[in-house]
């Protein structure tokens, strides 16, 4: 069965654009002639129409397999590197997986019930796949507790924001992201590279910032994306001085004015944009005016067919870019009756602009009064000596909880100035925030950890 109206990734790859590559720290693979080769080993011809788990150790093998299997497999479930092995069995059943593509022995799964196909580098002759169907792209939510939910997308929806931007303007772009491309934020960048006709430099887990930046420079990266936390970490490193991208993108967390201004100073020649996207809601919008928040006129229907509204303070999105559904038996509804996804991200309108204030699930309750950790961090981050901060809840025998803050100061901050800085931060918090939102205790720390999705770890959230 041939469906000529269905576009798969292979349609964006061909010999006409020269010099396209995708690379990680060990390999540089040509995208220009990628369709002539296969990265799959074994009984790969049986993958057509299958529901495939992509479980590779590195991002590169997954990228190559996605290119090969999009339009061929019925489903592809992208397996992020930090997946808890205890959850795999449930995911296999939920997504009705009947084939596994992997570069490592998966003894747990190799029980005869699944077709297991190897993944390597594109060294064998191409399989000559034709696009036969619109493959379902399944990915996992990045929630911190409990088994992840499976979210189902189509390439059409995933690429909606890329096509709307005009993919052709990225033809000479080399993309990079701090994310893993097997999660929504990273996948967006991978798709921008493939669909836009560009190249890509993949991140490596646990790679030192200075080595990563060296690879970004060597690879000629022009467009790069990460969370505000990723960027704050990069801005702390002296390596940033040698890097000069043309486009810097933030998403996945609230981009406050301090990080936007910091990036504008570090990359005076780059255009800097922050995007709103989530695994469930897809890409909502991008803001390129250098200011935190977003213009109020984005609420309503925009010309790209994205419709947004604010109900009970939280942002709701309806568009063809949102996920189709949660996948699996007993999976909850992804949208409300009208097709809107409730993002759980809370916004506040001030002077014709909406500002993100935090997640509904992250609220700290101080004797019945609500505090968003993000609103406290935004005030702290404005202090010129602060690089990163995290506000969190601490148990209190008196009010149930209090707000405390962990703060990373700029390199080379004299320890003798700590008390002065603490007093300055507290005084700014007192000026900008209600008393119960002001951190009761400020702790200076060496570093703050990020989750696998690049977000600030919020243990109490």
């Amino acid at each position: 069965m041939s469906q000529p109206d269905v576009l798969a990734l292979r349609e964006y790859l061909g010999p006409e654009l020269k010099g396209r590559t995708i690379s990680d720290a060990r390999h540089v693979i040509s995208l220009t002639d990628i369709l002539g080769y296969s990265c799959l080993i074994g009984r790969y011809r049986e993958l057509s129409g299958r529901s495939v788990l992509l479980a590779t150790s590195g991002q590169l093998q997954s990228a190559l397999a996605m290119i090969e299997l999009d339009g061929v497999a019925r489903r592809m479930l992208l397996c992020p590197p930090d997946l808890n092995p205890d959850h795999i069995e449930g995911l296999l059943a939920g997504a009705e997986i009947d084939a596994i593509v992997t570069d490592r022995p998966l003894h747990r799964c190799d029980d005869g019930a699944h077709l297991v196909v190897g993944a390597g580098l594109p060294e064998r002759p191409g399989a000559g796949w034709k696009t036969e169907r619109a493959t379902e792209w399944l990915m996992l939510t990045s929630g911190t507790s409990g088994p992840p939910k499976i979210v189902g997308h189509t390439l059409d929806g995933l690429a909606g924001a890329i096509i709307a931007d005009g993919a052709a303007r990225y033809q000479n772009a080399t993309w990079a992201t701090f994310y893993d491309i097997r999660r929504y934020g990273g996948l967006q960048i991978f798709l921008r590279a493939v669909i836009g006709g560009g190249s890509m430099v993949l991140s490596e887990p646990k790679e030192a910032t200075v080595d990563h930046v060296a690879r970004l420079r060597a690879g000629g990266v022009t467009h790069i994306s990460g969370t505000p936390s990723h960027w704050r970490k990069l801005l702390m490193s002296s390596a940033v001085a040698d890097f000069s991208p043309r486009y810097v993108r933030l998403s996945g967390e609230i981009a406050d004015q301090a990080v936007l201004d910091g990036l504008a100073r570090a990359f005076p020649h780059a255009s800097i944009g922050h995007a709103y996207a989530s695994t469930e809601a897809g890409v909502g919008f991008a803001v390129n005016d250098g200011r935190e928040g977003f213009p109020a006129d984005l609420i309503g229907q925009n010309r790209d067919g994205v419709e947004m509204k604010v109900v009970d303070g939280s942002l709701r999105i309806r568009s063809h870019r949102t996920a189709r559904s949660y996948v699996g038996s007993g999976a909850p509804q992804l949208t409300d009756a009208e097709g809107f996804v409730d993002t759980g991200d809370l916004v506040e309108l001030r002077d014709e602009r909406y500002y993100f204030v935090g997640r509904r699930t992250g609220i700290i309750n101080i004797g019945g009064l609500k505090v968003h950790p993000e609103e406290v961090e935004t005030v702290i981050n404005r202090h010129e000596s602060v690089r990163m901060s995290r506000a969190r809840s601490r148990r209190s025998p008196i009010t149930g909880a209090i707000v405390v803050a962990d703060i990373v100061l700029a390199d080379g901050t004299d320890a003798g100035r700590h008390e002065t800085i603490r007093t300055e931060i507290l005084s700014r918090c007192n000026d900008a925030l209600a008393a119960y939102k002001v951190p009761a205790v400020i702790r200076f720390v060496e570093r703050l950890d990020l989750t696998a999705a690049g977000k600030l770890t919020r243990a109490d959230a």
């Binding site: 101080i366 004797g367 601490r394 148990r395 209190s396 025998p397 008196i398 009010t399 209090i402 405390v404 507290l426 005084s427 007192n430 008393a435 119960y436 002001v438 009761a440 205790v441």
Partner: protein, 81 residues
């Protein structure tokens, strides 16, 4: 610095931050006359826990919250650090 002096110093610091005028601190001063609200006491207890390593009000679940400054200080002095 004695426990008592540490407590007084932390209270003065919080009073300054919260723009509260503390009356002269004496053992028989009622806590409700210090000008501290429950938030100020929550901050005080958290900072003292960091400074002294103890939070006597969480350790002893049945302990009644003290009513005077003197009782508040003794709650800290009576807990083996």
């Amino acid at each position: 610095m004695s426990v008592k002096l540490k407590i007084f110093s932390a209270m003065q610091q919080i009073a300054e931050e919260q723009k509260v005028t503390l009356p002269p601190l004496r053992d028989d001063l009622a806590l409700q006359d210090t000008g501290f609200d429950s938030l100020a006491f929550a901050i005080l207890v958290a900072r003292l826990e960091d400074d002294l390593g103890i939070d006597p009000f969480t350790i002893a679940e049945d302990a009644a919250f003290p009513s005077t400054v003197g009782e508040f200080i003794r709650a800290y002095e009576n807990v083996p650090a």
